[in-house]
């Protein structure tokens, strides 16, 4: 039975941290207020703590210390059923972007997003996953990218960029220091970033390359909670990096790619890498600090920065984007609760790949809109292609007029190319 598989996975996912989360939650419901899905629908089922309920029930029934005594007198929760899994599919996949804002408000500091991730793994075991994610995973495995960016497509896009900016874009170059990977969304829609990287790296004298073996940064396995797929996808990048003998792999402007590569990757692979992971923003900040890139002029529009959850709140790259913003902008304003308390775009954690969740995602954007309306920027800058795409769609849907820019491209735009 597939429910049993789910229960097994959930059980094995309960470690000391999960157990203490489930034991510490006093059901105060404060997390509801941190959740843009609850806030904009008023639906109590979207309360983050409620999303841990599958785990809670499995824990209390099977694993909690002293649960044996309670089980003997029938005081444990019922066993999960297929109906439960199906009900929570909606809560775990459609109405959670794993943004982790709920953790900030939790008096117990519970990492609810982490628990949702662990719960998703249970649903994967039972096959209760939104179809769009399953097909995206299939494409990722088959074509190397959930958006069917094959090595050929990549080569074409790079060639086009090469032509446009007149700087060679190294592909499959062994012995380069840095391996650049890209998110599918960047290759497909924001491909100017490739040219931007080429410009910056030429000035900074960075030796870099793109690999046709491992170029896709997004990791649908991480999003849907399928460790096998996640491992395969991380493995491609690790394989490519080790084949080309690079020293660093640059995690691009993509939120969960950073988590997948830097934080979860080694644990998925079961070994440390031979190279290091550095985020694009960290590298740019470092190059600037070392004086290897010189900028000229500043953008005088009123700009604000949208913090991608997985890079900032859950990634730890908090100050770098701010320093970069101040480098390129003369009129940089922060939103309320910027940085680690920032509000999600509404489409992280696989929600944007899940067409069924579109209405909900657009509704959830209202929280972000409120944040934006308070500062009234001329343009919004971010550092995640997925955020960027989701924000553009939502801004369009809400009939706002606000371009969304990528930070790397913005830096490239103000490079002093006379040097």
């Amino acid at each position: 039975m597939s429910v049993d598989k789910a229960i097994e996975v959930l059980k094995s996912n309960i470690d000391a941290s999960a157990a203490s989360y489930l034991d510490a939650c006093v059901h105060c419901g404060q997390c509801a207020q941190a959740c843009h899905f609850y806030e904009n629908t008023g639906d109590v089922r979207y309360t983050p703590a409620y999303k841990m309920d599958l785990m809670r029930r499995v824990y209390k029934r099977h694993k909690a210390p002293l649960s044996g005594i309670k089980r003997a007198i029938g005081l444990v929760p019922d066993e999960l059923t297929m109906d439960d899994l199906k009900e929570w599919e909606d809560l775990l996949y459609d109405s959670c972007t794993l943004c982790g804002r709920c953790t900030i408000v939790c008096p117990m500091g519970i990492d609810i997003a982490g628990m949702v991730r662990k719960s998703r793994e249970g649903l994967v075991a039972a096959g209760v996953v939104p179809e769009d994610l399953i097909s995206a995973a299939k494409r990722a495995i088959e074509f190397g990218s959930p958006l069917k960016i094959t090595p050929d497509v990549l080569r074409k896009v790079c060639a086009k960029q090469e032509e446009e900016i007149g700087i060679p874009i190294p592909i499959d170059q062994e012995g380069a220091d840095y391996l650049v990977i890209l998110s599918a969304m960047e290759v497909l829609q924001f491909y100017e970033v490739i040219g931007a990287i080429a410009k910056i790296f030429r000035q900074a004298g960075v030796s870099w390359t793109i690999s046709t073996d491992g170029y896709e940064a997004t990791n649908i396995g991480i999003q849907m909670g399928d460790k096998d797929i996640a491992r395969t996808l991380v493995g491609r990048i690790v394989g490519a990096a080790e084949k080309l003998k690079v020293k660093y792999v640059i995690s691009p402007e993509c939120g969960h790619a950073y988590s997948a590569l830097k934080w979860e990757g080694p644990n998925l692979m079961g070994r440390a890498y031979d190279f290091e992971i550095i985020h694009m923003l960290e590298l740019l900040d470092q190059l600037q600090a070392e004086g290897r890139i010189k900028l000229k002029g500043k953008d005088d529009r009123r700009l604000t920065f949208h913090d991608p959850c997985q890079i900032v709140r859950r990634g730890g790259v908090v100050e770098e984007p701010r320093r970069l913003m101040n480098m390129v902008s003369s009129n940089f304003v922060e939103m309320d609760n910027h940085g680690t308390a920032n509000i999600c775009c509404g489409g992280g954690g696989g929600v944007s790949s899940n067409s069924r969740a579109e209405t909900l995602r657009l509704k959830a954007f209202a929280s972000k809109k409120k944040q934006l309306d308070a500062v009234q920027p001329d343009a919004l800058v971010t550092a995640c292609a997925n955020c960027r795409n989701v924000l553009e769609e939502a801004i369009d849907d809400y009939e706002m007029d606000m371009p969304v820019l990528g930070l790397t491209e913005l830096v490239a735009e103000y490079l002093d190319e006379t040097r």
């Binding site: 008023g42 639906d43 089922r45």
Partner: protein, 343 residues
């Protein structure tokens, strides 16, 4: 420890009172059997002396509480007979009457259901602060009401069953609990009266509601956010509640008054108003819970079913539905009727 202090205090008290009597009689003397004491000019004879005490004469005491110099406080007897007589008797009748009326109402009318069932669409009725203060006052009202009823009727109802010494423990417990929670109630009541005042002021149409039969009628006459019955409950709570609060504070902090009579009066007001409020609260609780389907939602979830709103508070519902926002806290927009809050 406490007891010793008390004994000591008592000793001092007796001593001072005796000394006070000496002062009153003008001169200390040794009483001789059969002799008329006080054969000095200006002195008081025995019968006058005792009469003075009987009539509430105040001697001198050296402790701060000068009223302790009064040995017999005659008005106290009146208070006692009122409290143990008419107040307890009629208070008891009133409570029985209220309970009886509710039972009869239930038997005749049954549970007032939402005609045609719920729609699943929500109308916000009580804001978060309205709900908090309501339940806070309600919790204390129940605790204070129960302990108060025990203090008032326990000696007739509980004491014969459990005996005097056990009863004295229960009474002590009730009193301590009652005194402790009382001040919290006063503060909360004031806030609640403030929060709820706006919609409880007389509005045009209130009388129509009453003339059409109020909740005794079958046809749900329309009303504003609160109908005249609810408004009466508010104003009863306003006046009786304030009376209870003021008198209760005096009883809880007796050093605020100068004379024992004031405390006795305060007590009569306190108990009298409380009995009336408790009797009325039974009706409020009945109508808010089992009496009317869908009414409790407003005070728990904060929103009521559209159908309920239209049926019970037609005029208010019209306005509330007009100004209703897209998002109702706690109520999913797409909530299917079967997922609507159960009773």
């Amino acid at each position: 420890m406490k007891r010793i202090v008390f004994h000591r205090l008592f000793g001092v008290l007796c001593l001072t009172i005796m000394l006070g009597m000496g002062v009153m009689s003008g001169v200390a003397y040794a009483q001789q059997s059969g002799a008329v004491p006080g054969n000095t000019t200006g002195s008081v004879n025995d019968s006058e002396f005792w009469r003075s005490i009987r009539q509430g004469g105040q001697g001198l005491v050296s402790i701060p509480n000068k009223t302790a110099g009064i040995m017999i406080q005659s008005e106290g007897e009146e208070w006692r007979s009122l409290r143990n007589g008419p107040l307890s008797t009629y208070g008891g009748y009133l409570l029985a009457l209220s309970l009886g009326a509710i039972v009869v109402f239930f038997l005749v009318r049954g549970r007032i259901k939402i005609t045609g069932g719920r729609t699943g669409r929500a109308v916000p009725r009580f804001s978060q602060p309205e709900r908090w203060i309501h339940w806070f006052v309600a919790s204390l009202f129940i605790l204070l009401g129960l302990s108060g009823l025990l203090l008032m009727f326990g000696r007739y109802v509980i004491q014969p069953i459990i005996g005097k010494s056990a009863w004295s423990a229960v009474a002590s417990a009730s009193l301590q609990g009652h005194n402790l929670l009382g001040p919290m109630f006063v503060v909360a009541l004031l806030i609640m009266l403030g929060v709820y005042m706006k919609d409880n002021i007389w509005q045009k149409g209130d009388l129509t509601w009453a003339l059409k039969g109020g909740f005794l009628s079958k046809g749900h006459p329309p009303s504003w956010k609160y109908n005249l019955g609810e408004k009466s409950w508010y104003w009863l709570l306003f006046f009786a509640g304030l009376a209870i609060s003021t008198s209760g504070l005096l009883l809880d902090f007796p050093w605020l008054v100068e004379r024992v009579q004031q405390l006795q009066l305060a007590h009569l007001v306190h108990a009298g108003a409380a009995v009336v409020l408790i009797a009325a609260s039974l009706g409020h609780i009945y109508l808010g819970t089992i009496g009317v389907e869908g009414a409790l939602d407003g005070m728990t979830y904060g929103y009521v079913d559209e159908k309920w709103a239209e049926e019970h508070h037609g005029w208010w519902a019209e306005e509330a539905m007009k100004t209703r926002g897209d998002v109702i806290e706690g109520a999913g927009e797409t909530m299917p009727p079967e997922k609507a809050p159960a009773e």
